[in-house]
């Protein structure tokens, strides 16, 4: 009966958005009079996984067969479905991510479950099971009643605040039988930037647009990001022009981010860019054009030249540390 929460691992550690998912799941468990069980797939230590207990999980299932070392959404979906069945879970929570969307979809089709992704708040249980989800790329919300016997929810960053308590969780090895068909794809190679902060997890993002003028001018922006411990992003033309790597592209057709602070440097604020950042808590726009549309979407604005402003902000951050 327990609420099941899938936690994503990054180098063996539970990601922050997954801790939010555990908190969310524990809240639902409390409201429905049951317990929360977390599921982790891949290599990790029992001591790290036990941390889910502090966020409300009573138990952590750990599937760590060697075949599962690579993030394989189809195999992970089969493991998720097996865990849902073993735990007899009616509510299943995943953080929203590419991996989790694929897992929740395939698991839902296996079990005939409802799947609702992009959920922004805790469910309303007063009359059925209702959730609010983000639609039209952050421009609106839909309140939907989830009707399947099994309900799989993908929750957005900041849907709840993850607060550590004093609970502990028991870590149990979980080894369902693996499905051969899930492994038909051969991974030929991976290119992964190492040591970079993940954009979807980041609390602060410093992002640059065409106003940065060229790929060689990024240092002042990187310096500010470094001083703030921020991840870096960019507008679509910047990645189209290869000034910055594609995985930094934010917006309607790129990554959707939800940091506490988004600093836009030399980005005009086209609606398609704003669609990727409108879930940010606080937005700062720096642009030399006082008419730039970004100022309409921002909380703080500076009309000025990025090459003058950025180094001064970096210095101000370092001076107050």
């Amino acid at each position: 009966m327990s609420v099941l929460i899938f936690v994503e691992l990054d180098n063996g550690s539970i990601k922050k958005t997954s801790l939010e998912a555990v908190t969310y799941g524990a809240e639902v468990a409390k409201a429905t009079g049951t317990t929360a069980t977390a599921l982790a797939i891949g290599t990790s230590d029992a001591s790290e996984l036990a941390k889910a207990g502090a966020y409300g999980a009573a138990k952590v299932l750990h599937a760590n067969a060697t075949e599962l070392a690579n993030e394989n959404a189809m195999a992970y979906a089969s493991v998720l479905a097996a865990a849902i069945q073993q735990e007899n879970s009616e509510v299943v929570i995943l953080p929203k991510s590419g991996l989790c969307d694929a897992m929740s979809a395939r698991a839902a089709a296996k079990l005939g479950a409802s799947v609702v992704s992009g959920v922004t708040d805790l469910p309303d249980l007063s009359n059925g099971f209702k959730v609010k989800r983000s639609i039209f790329t952050g421009k609106a919300f839909a309140n939907v009643e989830v009707k399947g016997a099994v309900k799989i929810l993908g929750i957005k960053k900041n849907a709840v605040e993850a607060v550590a308590g004093s609970g502990t969780a028991e870590v149990v090895v979980f080894s369902p039988s693996l499905v051969g068909g899930d492994f038909v794809a051969k991974v030929i190679s991976q290119e992964k930037a190492s040591g970079e902060l993940s954009l979807t997890e980041a609390d602060i993002i410093v992002s640059g647009g065409r106003g940065m003028k060229g790929p060689d001018n990024w240092q002042p922006l990187l310096d500010l990001a470094h001083a703030l411990g921020a991840a870096t992003g960019c507008s679509k033309p910047v990645s189209d022009l290869d000034w910055r790597p594609h995985h930094e592209h934010i917006g309607q057709t790129g990554i959707k981010v939800a940091p506490n602070l988004y600093i836009a440097c030399g980005i005009s604020g086209a609606i398609q860019h704003l669609a990727g950042v409108n879930s940010s808590k606080v937005i700062v726009a720096i642009n030399k054009d006082p008419e730039a549309p970004f100022f309409k979407a921002a909380d703080y604005g500076i009309v000025g030249d990025v090459f003058d402003i950025l180094p001064r902000l970096t210095k101000a951050v370092l001076d107050t540390k």
Partner: protein, 245 residues
């Protein structure tokens, strides 16, 4: 090679979103509709693959008659035939079940979709369809080549890319730079008029999730402007006022 491309009919990316009928219906008045931008990438790559290997492209939309202009546009860009499942889908599972029902009738080698629709933003229809058909699905795919019966493709992963190979048939959710968006030419527009567009009725699916009502986000407050010569004060405001540092 037989390719199925699933397209959404969605408000233009600059459209203002509003609702009518007690916030239970999207207000289509004055809104320009487009093929979903990611679906447009999928379609563009399908057209290029067909040029290389021959075969046919079918486009599929689960939607009402107002999708037809976008379906005709897809035919003008290079699809050979179209199917529209006549309904107003409210839920990803329902949509996926319709797509799977059409796909079961024919053996497509490749089912291309967008990584996500820009109205529902779910990113789940490809996975659902893959599982309902019992074939693999991958997303988001940013590079795709077909050699014989094998797809060689690159998928975006966090902070980078993964190169994969898998046997057909497959369901793939696509994004740029898989191909450049294509604009229909005059000849395409003329021939599109006579290409077949079959309208079928939906198959029954149990209620999975139903809409209660839509809401809009609270309007943003005014932007606090900081004079450029006092730019440094931003940092203290972010600390003490906004409390995000």
């Amino acid at each position: 090679m037989k390719i199925l491309v699933c397209i959404t009919n969605v408000p233009d990316t600059t459209a203002k979103i509003s609702f009518i009928e007690n916030d239970t219906k999207f207000n289509k008045a004055g809104v320009q509709f487009i093929i979903g931008p990611y679906d447009d990438y999928a379609l563009a790559r399908a057209v290029e693959l067909k040029e290389q290997t021959g075969g046919s492209i079918t486009v599929l939309n689960v939607g009402e008659a107002d999708s037809d202009p976008q379906i005709r546009k897809a035919l003008a860009i290079g699809a050979d035939s179209a199917v529209r499942v006549n309904c107003d889908p409210q839920d990803s599972y329902f949509t996926a079940a319709q797509i799977a029902a059409v796909a079961k009738e024919e053996n497509f080698d490749l089912i291309l979709m967008g990584r996500e629709s820009i109205d529902f933003n779910s990113g789940v229809v490809h996975g659902l369809v893959g599982e309902l058909l019992g074939i693999p699905s991958f997303s988001p795919v940013m590079k795709l080549d077909i050699e014989g019966n094998t797809a060689k493709f690159a998928r975006e992963i966090e902070g980078g890319k993964e190169y994969l190979e898998a046997p057909l048939p497959l369901v793939l959710g696509c994004q740029e730079p898989i191909a450049e968006w294509k604009i229909p030419n005059m000849r395409g527009i003329m021939t599109a008029r006579t290409k077949p567009l079959k309208v079928v009725e939906p198959v029954a699916v149990g209620d999975m999730a139903t809409l209660d009502k839509y809401t809009l986000p609270a309007p943003k407050g005014a932007c606090k402007m900081i004079p450029a010569d006092q730019a440094e004060t931003l940092i203290s405001l972010l600390k003490t006022e906004a409390k995000v540092l």
